[in-house]
């Protein structure tokens, strides 16, 4: 097992070196800069893995290994698209690994947070309403806080808070009245998101809530009525809000306005199609014509340059990561930790589904980040924070065996 783990890490290092070798070759001459960048990445993975092995030999190391591997797709893609952003993203990767190690070494047992569910509910609402007052509108969504030159997306942190809140209260649910009472913070957040025009996060909050409710109570009737209400809500918001209507119309037929509103999704589909099975090769395609390719549409760029096989490999890696998270949930010692693990797993699952479904025109496009891959500090930090929390749960779960 240990040997296999080492050879997996060696393979990952080799992949990183090869990817940057391709990048350094693509202009016809050999360049050294991509290798330095790649070496940073290798050092970070090595360091993170070393810390886990040194201090917690019992914990699930694959959570970290798989996430670090997924990060490489984003780093190499960003390096190819936009050097300045790539350097910043590497810094965020370093911050992410640091946060991960901090959570692992210093965080108390997750179970202790169970008592503060009301605090978490309040924090969620406060942090989500902040952009309405302080925020500025970026790309049609008012979901950013800017302090100086540092901007921050509070919905990312809000997701974790709502998971902690729900894990605390779901056990107390006995009938429909309880469901209504405890779902107030979730419903409020979804309304805030719709007002902020951040539909992707609204969808994710709903998905997380439904998953955790089902896992916690195992009653299908709650889920069915939730889906019914969501359907009615979605139908009404289609007529009430212009931005919802516009999104759905673009989704139904992007080609009607292919130089205007539908431009982004059309370019994304063209990029994915031109990739074919094996892809155009790194730096061989033209994904830079897609607007926002470094954040929301990075999956299209990966599909174009790594091909269908590369894109599927990325999705398999997400699948394995989520499987590993659910495994952590199975091994957790108490219900609270178990629900937190399930919540985080469903958060990743819905996030990947919503954005990959969006860029491939399977569902209406809503701008959220692809965890670990998209450019963005908030997303990277929160993703590693979640992995750290799961690692902590797995450590407690394995400790007295």
């Amino acid at each position: 097992m240990v040997n296999l783990e080492k050879s997996i890490l060696k393979n990952i290092y080799l992949i990183i070196i090869l990817l940057f070798l391709i990048l350094s070759l693509h202009r016809g001459t050999f360049e050294i800069a991509p290798f330095i960048y790649g070496a940073f990445s290798i050092i970070l993975i090595f360091y993170g893995h070393f810390i886990i092995k040194r201090f917690y030999p019992n914990v699930d190391k694959y959570l970290f290994i798989i996430s670090a591997f997924i990060v490489q797709f984003g780093l190499v893609m960003l390096y190819r698209l936009d050097l300045q952003r790539a350097v910043r993203q590497m810094a965020w990767f370093a911050v992410g690994v640091t946060v991960f190690i901090f959570v692992l070494l210093l965080f108390p047992n997750i179970k202790r947070l169970e008592k503060y569910s009301l605090t978490f509910a309040l924090l969620t609402i406060i942090i989500l309403t902040l952009p309405l007052f302080l925020g500025r509108e970026i790309k049609g969504s008012k979901n950013w806080i800017q302090i100086g030159s540092f901007s921050f997306q509070p919905s990312e942190l809000g997701k974790l808070f709502i998971i902690f809140y729900l894990s605390g209260v779901i056990k107390k649910i006995n009938d429909y009245k309880d469901v209504l009472r405890y779902s107030i913070p979730v419903v409020l957040s979804i309304i805030i998101f719709v007002l902020e025009k951040d539909l992707g996060s609204a969808l994710m909050f709903f998905g997380i809530f439904m998953t955790m409710l089902y896992i916690g109570t195992s009653r299908i009737s709650y889920i069915l009525s939730g889906l019914g209400l969501f359907g009615i809500g979605g139908f009404l918001s289609y007529f009430m809000f212009d931005h919802v209507k516009r999104r759905v119309n673009i989704w139904l037929d992007p080609w009607k306005d292919k130089y205007g509103a539908g431009y982004q999704i059309c370019q994304s589909l063209i990029a994915i199609a031109s990739g074919g099975l094996f892809g155009t090769g790194l730096a061989g395609g033209h994904p830079e014509v897609i607007p926002e390719v470094h954040t929301d549409f990075i999956f299209s760029a990966i599909s174009e340059e790594f091909g269908l096989l590369g894109a599927i490999a990325l999705l398999i890696l997400y699948l394995l990561l989520i499987y590993r998270m659910l495994r952590t949930a199975l091994y957790a010692k108490d219900d609270f930790s178990r629900l937190v693990a399930v919540g985080i797993a469903s958060m990743f699952a819905f996030q990947v589904f919503v954005i990959v479904g969006g860029v491939t025109k399977m569902i209406p496009l809503t701008g959220i980040t692809l965890p670990f891959v998209s450019y963005g500090g908030s997303s990277m930090t929160i993703s590693f924070l979640s992995i750290g929390i799961l690692q902590k749960i797995s450590e407690v779960g394995n400790s007295d065996e």
Partner: protein
């Protein structure tokens, strides 16, 4: 240079799938490991087969063997036999890899498995009769 990059592209995709395959292999081994632990968790016990009435152990009583069970006349043993024919630290029974072993700790009168005196460590199985001093124990699973 472009051609090399083209070839490397296929190598990279191959390697990515190799990593995925290896991770899946580890997870598969991990799942099998869980099943093995669950399926083969054996528990052993000792039943008092025969004992004289004056040593405070009733015939037919059961002693579950956790990882290790020490037998002897001293009070710090797991199974205390107040019999002058039993040594202070007489013998030790332990479980290793789901198998049961008995070790004689240099007793004066010896430990017998199925009527045969044992030297040092010997594996025992369900149904074996162990004689220590004047008492007789039966291994149960």
């Amino acid at each position: 240079m472009k051609e090399i990059a083209m070839i490397l592209k296929f190598i990279v995709i191959g390697l990515i799938y190799l990593v995925i395959f290896r991770i899946i292999k580890i997870m598969y081994l991990d799942l099998k490991g869980i099943n093995r632990i669950k399926a083969h968790k054996k528990e052993f016990a000792l039943e008092i087969n025969d004992a004289p009435e004056d040593i405070g152990i009733t015939k037919g009583s059961l002693y579950i063997i956790h990882k290790v069970m020490s037998i002897g006349r001293n009070f710090d043993n797991d199974l205390v036999i107040k019999d002058p024919y039993v040594s202070g630290n007489h013998a030790k029974i332990f479980v290793k890899d789901d198998r049961l072993f008995i070790e004689d700790l240099g007793s004066t009168n010896g430990t017998y498995v199925n009527g045969r005196r044992i030297d040092k460590i010997e594996e025992i199985e369900e149904g074996d009769i162990i004689d220590i001093g004047r008492i007789s124990l039966k291994v149960l699973e």
